[in-house]
Symmetry: C2
Subunit: 641 residues, 2 copies
């Protein structure tokens, strides 16, 4: 029994102490330089200062098409009183080195980019001249230096133009080319070995056995390494086998850093830790950090190379990676420390935190009446979507236990910073709404969608934090959906019906071919016929309790939060029946006995009704195309428009 013998971490460190011990043994500096061709330098980091060895321009350059003159020869020239000069035989196209001097009373034709000849101190634009009988007629006076860029005005020879550490965008690449450089010294990219451990972990692309999990950590970490300026070395999924793990670690140590995920706890079965614990010089420096998520992270250094075991759960893995490894990779790559943008927001709901741990709470941001509201993305550290869909996170200090609803918070933005959205949808998820949103995205609207359930959507609409909230909440007193929850500030937009019914595995004689009443009679009474329930407060739960008539069969305590979870529990045999909608039953190939239609409608704050994106949504919802598509998906759409 591996789990029972598990010991606690030897010493759980604070976040800062763990970081201090980790960095004590690392040199946070670029690993070295290499030379790359200029056309391959985009996104790299300059390894040396660049001092100009040429002037730009390299000569006194004409900025217009015209005539090189002595400015004094044109003084007083006007439309009615032009000056007349003798054109010289030479014509100064770009790249031509002038042979003759411009002497008093003469003018040399010169093109944009041409080299100013000796004697000239200005260029008269061709538009201000005419030729008359072989003489140049100048109709406007020029001042000394007019239309000339002197050598070195843009870049002076000897000037330090770019400095080591400069990330190279197109703008810097242009400057390097102007200096004539076709090779650039850049910091070499740190090579970071990445693998995942665990017998249950399956590489994307392979079939997924029941109980197994696709390896998302290796993919997100490898991409993050690239984003940080490193080069990921993908070592794949390594099974829980001492020899295989040792070999992977050895292979990884040929790189500049090793990062892997899974197996951070200290139970008997934890091979990863045992193998890393064998490293020396100095070896493991922290195992267990007072962080949520991410407590089990293990930090080690050997001969100046960081070796990190991240927790297996995706949010924990990516948070601990960004907390401890990302700054190291940036420094190895010669990049400056990241500067994350902070924004002020308000918590729309109370949040509890655990004393003694620094907690990072991922949030989604939506603009409301009182500025931004920061919605906690409550899917837990096992979620992979929490990190990808969050706008940022708040840090709850180790001494804070409660943040009240309405508390002001500072949000560190993730990704590209806060993206503006045209339409904000907060509420219950539905594949029908998915389809509608997709159509609007194709129309060019930017949509932000947060699945927080019906009640969450209703609350967001009341607080003015969304344009539309999809809800399906039954009034237990009347059996009518949604209308009982309206306030004067909210409008209810009719959506569509979703048929709810009993789902069961096809061929189960207890349900096959029966009607709802007969099925529920079985469900209420038959021992060994286990159900899967829904969460209290959901419309489906209200219906379930009605149908059960007070009975609480086996599985009543399994209170899942979605139609999908019900279908999976039945499909995988952990339960024999549950209540779900027919579109989901169909997806999982389950039997379905219709019971009652629920209404999936939209609440809409009235003061948002006039917004163009809201109107676009409503027009789409009422369109024949949408009605046909929703019917096709299995929803009940009222006839007519």
């Amino acid at each position: 029994m591996p789990v029972k013998a598990q010991s606690q971490f030897l010493q759980v460190l604070t976040r800062d102490e763990a970081e201090r011990r980790f960095r004590e043994h690392l040199t946070l500096a670029p690993l070295g330089a290499e030379t790359v061709a200029l056309h391959a330098a985009l996104g790299r980091v300059l390894a040396e200062d660049v001092v100009a060895t040429v002037d730009v321009p390299g000569f006194d350059r004409s900025n217009v098409d015209g005539f090189a003159v002595r400015a004094g020869d044109t003084w007083g020239a006007m439309e009615e009183e032009p000056r007349r000069l003798s054109p010289t035989a030479e014509t100064l196209a770009p790249g031509i080195v002038p042979q003759a001097e411009v002497t008093a009373g003469t003018a040399t034709p010169i093109a944009t980019g041409g080299m100013l000849p000796r004697g000239a101190d200005a260029v008269v634009m061709v538009e201000h001249t005419d030729m008359e009988g072989g003489r140049l007629v100048v109709r406007r006076a020029a001042t000394a230096g007019e239309n000339v860029s002197y050598a070195g005005t843009d870049i002076a020879r000897g000037e330090t133009v770019l400095r080591a550490g400069q990330p190279l965008s197109s703008r810097e690449i242009g400057v390097l080319a102007a200096l004539g450089l076709d090779q650039v010294p850049v910091h070499r990219r740190p090579r970071v070995a990445i693998f995942s451990t665990g017998n249950e972990i399956v590489a994307p692309g392979a079939p997924l056995p029941v109980g197994a999990v696709y390896d998302s950590n290796a993919a997100i970490l490898a991409a993050a390494v690239e984003e940080l300026g490193g080069e990921p070395v993908r070592l794949g999924v390594v099974p829980d086998n001492e020899a295989r793990l040792s070999a992977a670690l050895r292979q990884g140590l040929a790189c500049d850093a090793v990062v892997f995920s899974g197996g951070t706890s200290k139970g008997e079965g934890d091979l990863s830790y045992r193998i890393v614990a064998a490293l020396q010089d100095p070896g493991v420096v922290a195992h267990g950090v007072a962080l949520k998520p991410g407590k089990p992270v293990c930090l080690a250094v050997t001969q100046g190379k960081p070796v990190v075991i991240l927790p297996g759960f995706p949010t924990s893995a990516v948070f601990t990676f960004h907390e401890f490894m990302a700054p190291v990779i940036r420094a190895f790559a010669g990049r400056p420390p990241e500067q994350r943008q902070l924004v002020d927001a308000t918590l729309p709901m109370r949040v509890n935190s655990e004393r003694g741990r620094t907690e990072y709470l991922l949030v989604g941001l939506v603009p409301g009446e009182r500025g931004l509201a920061a919605y906690p993305m409550g899917k837990g550290s096992g979620s992979v979507t929490t990190f990808s869909s969050a706008d940022g996170f708040i840090t709850i200090g180790q001494h804070t236990e409660i943040l009240d609803a309405g508390a002001p918070v500072q949000v560190q933005l993730l990704g590209q910073g806060l993206q503006a959205a045209d339409l904000i949808l907060v509420g219950s998820h539905c594949v029908g709404l998915d389809w509608l949103a997709g159509q609007l995205v194709r129309q060019g609207l930017r949509i932000k969608s947060m699945s927080v359930g019906s009640t969450g959507g209703l609350m967001a609409a009341k607080r003015g934090e969304c344009d539309l909230g999809g809800i399906h909440l039954m009034d237990p007193a009347t059996g009518v959906y949604n209308t009982h929850l309206l306030t004067p500030a909210l409008e209810l937009v009719p959506g569509y019906g979703r048929m709810q019914g009993v789902v069961y595995r096809r061929g189960d004689a207890r349900f096959e071919g029966r009607d709802a009443a007969a099925a529920m009679a079985t469900a209420r009474s038959e021992a060994g016929c286990a159900m899967v329930n829904r969460n209290a407060g959901s419309g489906t739960r209200i219906l379930i309790d009605r149908l059960l008539e007070g009975a609480q069969p086996a599985g009543y305590g399994v209170q899942t939060k979605s139609h999908n979870a019900v279908a999976v529990a039945v499909a995988q045999g952990r339960a024999d029946w549950g209540l779900a909608i027919d579109t989901v039953a169909r997806q999982y190939g389950l039997g379905f006995i219709p019971v009652q239609e629920e209404r999936y409608d939209f609440v809409l704050p009235r003061d948002r009704l006039a917004r163009a994106p809201v109107q676009a949504f409503l027009a789409l919802l009422r369109s024949d195309a949408a009605r046909a598509a929703l019917r096709e998906l299995g929803f009940r759409v009222d006839p007519g428009g």
Copy 2:
């Protein structure tokens, strides 16, 4: 004479009209999709909606190490009053499919990530249990659903997880991996052919003849195409030759778009335009746009492919590229339109603009007492550094002629947005200051440096817009440098001396071996001995006028703005002598006759004196290492500290 026959553009269009005509013949939509491996998808753009075909998690998952139980069996359990359960034989490591049901009074060991067995509805953490005599002692009650993530809570099968048009960062890549995808449909990258034209244009890496220019446009444009999601196809530098240009254009038209620079005017010599003008369906749609910079841009479309001739001058080229081509490339690549960030600022000086043209004025931003000041980067459209060092630009409408000093302006940020700086240097450029700044950068300081000349630096310091301004301005009355310009709010930090003298080509018998007095006697009187002057207001000009004693020899009107420009004019033979500092004379291998030392000192607003980065600068300036380095560079450093 090519320049003389030049005609005006047939019709100069407004910016918006030019854009309208250009887009009328283009389909601003992705060009097509292709499938790439997930590990090569970073930075690409999703071409199709991704609908989850699996639930994540795919089963009801334990989030902790512990025991799967029926929550009801633990109710009432406390430290002093534990509940006792019978452990089952099965152990549920991750990936194991449970075979037995958890029945009343039993508990099945389960690891983090393990699959919840039938019958169980909660997991008790191992920390809250003990084993005693083969029985599991549970010391804390569990609620239904505790420590369990139900199937599909993270991603529900059938849910649209990501939408077409989504750029793929590490965050999205993690989600795609979690769904088991190892191949991703992405928009294919538009291939953009890029070449430069002009006999004077030389590819970086090749030697640079006098009068020639390195090709920076192709490099910056190719890198910009990459940044926009396209694939640059580099066709190199094409000489002004009809057959060669036609061949390049034909080759380019095998791509999705063609961009080249140089040859946009309409003179006889303008082959580029003639060749593009031969395109049909529809061919040229705009030639000449009321834009500054960028008026000569030529926009064409043939069979749905954009063909654009950008002006040859770097700033004009990159501005017209971003104005007209960048949005097309983004659309072809399936990316959303760029959203540039706007910031408010104040113009510190008056700016004149030309009526009838939309002008884009590149500015550098520095924080001052009244918010941000937007300094025009006054190097002209021929500059390559203006665009690379600007923080953003302001748009001056076609009906505006004057923006007064102090005018509020909106600045569209370029690049990565506004970067915070620790130390702001505004003033005259000096390679000594370059060295000092480089040392501070190595200490980790972020430095923003703007070369606006001594007077500009003094004004910025008076306005509180810089930490330090390097200046070298002589009082004409006393010959003393810099001290006469102080105000009570400014402190003068002694810098170092720079020896000024007469520069001439080595071997010129008129100067070689003479002292300053003899050299100047020659310079004042000898016909055919041409000088190169400096700009009025510069310290060097004051010295020149003193030395000339009222004489104005040939070249007096050539008023360059830097020591380098003086040295280049002499080195290239456009002048025979000028006044410059010795370090510059040495760089160009010129002869040097010392005349007078000028002081390069630093003005510093007193209220910035206490800032740590300012103190770091002062400590460095006074250090032995800096004094030695400055001496090594050729500057005069006072003895002692």
